[in-house]
């Protein structure tokens, strides 16, 4: 039983990462209709940016986070310019191929720049003021600060995202675009700006996830492949474009994987999600939490 709680906690940590990556993915799809196969690379770049900021540039933690966000913003702007802006007159499926191409290019660029060997961020938590004072023992559950930070950051970021989407003009513009792009445009929503903001948001969320995870798991050039697949799993389970659904489904997938690897077999952990997703696509394509809609 004690171990069960530990597995649950590990699942929540992993699941939080899935939430961060998947929410950006689902936003980009819901608002712009772009299926971003290069989203896992945002995560990979965030991880490497974190490692570069802390081990190469020797920045303290907060400036390092700012550096990661800056890199993510640049990547987001570039990705929008490649995957969304030139695709307006193309059929909707072109972005599938071009984002797939972008993913391949980014992975191999990372291979050239950073090398094939997996890298990890050695984050010395004892030097970080607030983080070092956090507890690590919760009854039977032990979570080192690096891991504990991940769900905390996820909750914070999702809360900020919620407030922005709900109460700011930018957020209203984003939601209007998601509901009906043409009407939103008629009402004066600046579509180009919304597109850029959406991509920056997605890249920032995934990049932060990558940075946070880089102190727990290794970062390597193709790390984004698996993460992107997991994020797609989460997005489909939660319903394409459904942010709250993605948040719930992300945690569910993390916990399911953790329990699978603990009680069934470690080799099965990555397969479980895919089996799930194929079943959901076949029987409930609108997602576990989505409303049935006519797909034409």
């Amino acid at each position: 039983m004690d171990l069960f709680l530990q597995y649950m906690a590990n699942g929540v940590v992993i699941g939080s990462t899935y939430v961060l990556v998947a929410v950006g993915l689902t936003l980009i799809f819901g608002i712009l209709g772009v299926v971003n196969f290069a989203h896992g690379e945002f995560y990979m770049i965030g991880g490497y940016a974190g490692i570069v900021a802390i081990t190469v540039l020797k920045l303290p933690v907060l400036p390092a986070i700012a550096f990661v966000l800056l890199v993510a913003a640049v990547v987001g702007i570039a990705a929008e310019a490649i995957l969304h802006k030139p695709m307006k007159n193309h059929d909707a499926t072109s972005s599938i191929i071009s984002s797939f191409g972008l993913a391949v290019a980014l992975q191999n660029a990372a291979l050239v720049v950073m090398g094939p060997q997996p890298q990890r961020l050695n984050l010395d938590v004892s030097k970080i003021p607030v983080l070092s004072s956090l507890p690590t023992d919760f009854g039977p559950v032990f979570l080192p600060q690096q891991r504990l930070l991940i769900p905390i950051a996820t909750v914070l970021l999702i809360a900020i995202l919620y407030v922005v989407l709900r109460y700011t003009w930018t957020g209203r513009g984003l939601r209007a675009m998601a509901q009906h792009a043409t009407v939103a445009r008629l009402c004066g929503v600046r579509v180009e700006r919304v597109a850029i903001v959406t991509f920056i948001t997605g890249a920032a969320l995934a990049g932060t996830a990558g940075m946070l995870m880089s102190s727990v798991f290794f970062v390597y050039p193709i790390v984004g492949n698996m993460i992107a697949l997991k994020a797609f799993t989460v997005v489909i389970l939660g319903g394409m474009g459904n942010v709250a659904g993605a948040a719930v489904a992300g945690l569910l997938l993390g916990i399911t994987e953790s329990l699978t690897s603990a009680y069934i077999s470690n080799a099965m952990r990555d397969v479980v999600g895919f089996v799930f997703v194929i079943l959901v696509l076949l029987f409930r394509p609108q997602g576990l939490f989505g409303k049935a809609v006519e797909r034409s």
Binding site: F29, V35, F37, I82, P86, M87, H90, D91, A92, T93, S94, I96, I97, S98, F100, G101, L102, A103, V104, A105, L106, Q107, N108, A109, L111, V112, N225, M226, L229, F232, T233, I236, A267, D270, V271, F274, V277, I278, L281, L282, P285, R295, S296
Partner: protein, 311 residues
Amino acid sequence: MRVYLIALLAFAGLAVAPFGIGGYETNVLMMVLFFVILAVGLDLVTGYCGQFSFATGAFYGIGAYTAAIMTRDFNTTIWVHLPAGAIVAGLFGLLLGIPALRLKGHFLAIVTIAFQTIVYLVISQWTSFTGGQVGLPMPNAGPVTVFGVTLFEFGSLRSYYWLTLAMTALTLLISWRLVNSRLGREWVAIRDDETLASAVGLDTTRGKLTAFVAYAALAGVAGVLTAHSLRGVTPDDYTIWISATVVAMMVVGGRGTFIGPILGAVFLAILPELLGKFAEYKMLIYGVLLVLVVTLMPEGVVGRLRARAAR
């Protein structure tokens, strides 16, 4: 008629090529032919029928592992493996085609990537069955005999090359007949407007499944040939990079143009050989090419040339 004549001349040239070039060049040519088979197959399902698949590497691997596992367990030869690889890969194609009946565009693309990943996980992790990361070795094919009389020794590089050339010719012939048949036109109708296609009474289920099976079976054949000519299989030869490479070949050449993916395969397969020490950047180049071509001329090089000629 002219098309057949040109094709015939090209194949005659390729058939005598091994006498004029070295082993290395023959190997490169053979690899080009593998990619031609893969790209033409992918073009059937994506270019003609409009169904995305990023699982070419998986079907290629299923064909290759069918050959390797049958060699190990039943001690059969390549002549059995060719049809067996096509059938096993075709069955998996059918399996993947079933979700395609209900899913479109991005959903299907995600499922094919998931399928590719699952196949890779199985062939790299199920060590007792597939040899795991190390893969499986394959013995030489041995002599070809009829009623106990040895006709010729099979197993030299040239014999594999000629067999691959023959299978490539067969692939092109079958694919050419398919896309110019009624079935091929049904595929195009499904690609252009599925709702309309079913409204005018076309069986879209049959159309999509046949396209998937044809694509998978061709990739399976390429896999069998590859496994035998490389004398073994390892999981890393059948990753999503193969899928990405073949998608790039098809898109750069021109989806649904028939000749486009062939030229794309020839060009992109030879490219790394010409790059010399920059060959390690080939996937980077493929990725950038994919983005550029889809953005600037989504119809591909051949598609653009044809459109220009028509004007």
